[in-house]
């Protein structure tokens, strides 16, 4: 709690400096959150190039509008609000294009199979079981694609980022109750799609 409060005080000083046009202060703020932002964008978009676009657009937007930051929420919530909005736009655009990201595009333009990212650290893992895990990983990725952008975002923030529903509500400009209902719908859909699948342990 103490470290959180200290972070907040430090953030406030940096934000005020950034509002006065101090780019270095803004960059220090960026350093505190950019890795998490990039990780979120990468997982949601599945493409390094798209994740980098979201990352850059988010922080440039934050820099341009930091004068409007009124300290009504934490900087973390504020920047995540910007990022989630950009990611939602991205997911909506992708949904209309009906892309099937069975592969991810890396920065060199090459494609990597999503399943290759599913690690298998067990010693002596047998190929049959490994293949099954990869198939399941693929099914999960496809099931996530079936969620609406908002359901996907709430599920991502809750399941993968571990945020509280109240915080998710704040980030998405909605109530905790709505976030809860959206999460409920998302998990129901995922369970429906993945019901036939057997968990590999």
């Amino acid at each position: 709690m103490v470290s959180q409060a200290l972070n907040r005080v430090n953030d406030s000083e940096l934000i005020r400096a950034a509002q006065r046009g101090d780019v270095a202060a803004f960059e220090t703020l960026v350093r505190q959150y950019d890795q998490a932002v990039l990780r979120l964008a990468l997982h949601l978009t599945g493409s390094e190039a798209d994740a980098q676009d979201v990352y850059q657009e988010a922080f440039l937007k934050a820099y341009r509008h930091i004068g409007n930051f009124r300290f009504e929420c934490s900087f973390y919530t504020w920047i995540y609000r910007i990022v989630t909005n950009l990611c939602l736009d991205y997911l909506r655009r992708r949904q209309t294009r009906r892309e099937e990201p069975a592969t991810i595009t890396n920065s060199d333009g090459g494609e990597t199979d999503l399943l290759d990212r599913v690690s298998d650290n067990r010693s002596g893992a047998n190929p049959e079981r490994d293949l099954m895990r990869r198939e399941l990983g693929s099914k999960i990725a496809q099931a996530l694609e079936k969620l609406t952008p908002r359901e996907r975002m709430v599920f991502e923030l809750k399941h993968y980022q571990g945020l509280r529903l109240r915080t998710i509500g704040e980030m998405l400009n909605t109530t905790e109750e709505t976030a809860k209902n959206t999460l409920f719908r998302a998990t129901q859909k995922l369970r429906g799609v993945l019901a036939p699948m057997r968990t590999v342990r």
């Binding site: 509002q19 046009g21 780019v23 270095a24 803004f26 960059e27 220090t28 960026v30 350093r31 950019d34 890795q35 990039l38 990780r39 990468l42 997982h43 390094e48 980098q52 990352y55 850059q56 922080f59 440039l60 820099y63 341009r64 509008h65 930091i66 004068g67 409007n68 920065s107 999503l114 990212r117 599913v118 690690s119 895990r133 399941l136 990983g137 999960i140 990725a141 996530l144 809750k158 399941h159 993968y160 509280r164 529903l165 809860k180 999460l183 409920f184 998990t187 995922l190 369970r191 993945l194 699948m197 968990t199 590999v200």
Partner: protein, 306 residues
Amino acid sequence: MNCEWVKENIVLCIYDELADDAKFEFEQHVRHCLPCRQELESALELKHSMGLHPVQEVSPGFLTESRMKLQEALEHTEQSRGWGRWIFDFSAWLHQIRLAPALAMALLMTGFAGGILTSYRMRPQNIAMVPAGAEEASIADVQSIVADPGSSRISITYNTLKPQMAEGPSSDPKIRQLLLLAARDPQNSGVRLDAFNLLTQKPQNDEVREALIYAVRYDRNPGVRLRALEGLKGFVRDDIHVRDAVLEALLHDTNAGVRQEAISLLDPVKADMSVREALRVLAGHDQNKFIRSESKRVLASTPHLE
């Protein structure tokens, strides 16, 4: 509590969002209700399965590349100065006055002082009613000529450029400001070098450090960039902006001497992941043989990190 309520709240339970009392009742119910227990197990199984689509950690190289691109973009971006920012927020002003009278007074005084200074600078000093001083100062340019048709009187508006000299110790703020100005003189690299030779005696000053970073990134003269790099030597360990500037010089500077100096500056922070990533790239692909071998040497000096 009934089964319907339990089913609606299973998701909150598995993500630890239920209040303590509700969680207790939930657990009590599930312990004695087989369908609800199966429902819970199914939800837990789903949660476990989602681990097969894990969140990938961002690689240091990708992070560094993204940061550099952002830094470049920030240099060409200005903060929004829309009308909204100029609308006077009376309640906020009142709040601030109440909480910080000294700050409010300081702001008012700064406003007055700024106003006086601005009007002083903008006063049309270059309009001479009598051409007596024209030969005393060199004329920079003539702005306008107006001849009075009814008489032989001519009005000429011109600007003058008058060399001036300032003297004082290096601690004098005015001298430091002039040195900082000289450090960005676009015409004369000798002046810039002289300025940095003096400024680097006190690089702990933020403005000086900023000028040094600027020179490392943008100065056209490699000698000046090299001098600026030397001036930043003591700050690579503690100042992340300095480290980034040196890293950029190492990766992108066109001069091998500057890059060589950058490698030696980064030696104390060779454990930094971004630095190691950059060194790995250079060790493998750099066109300059010396840079390749130096990068390999620095990496090899810490085998436990490889």
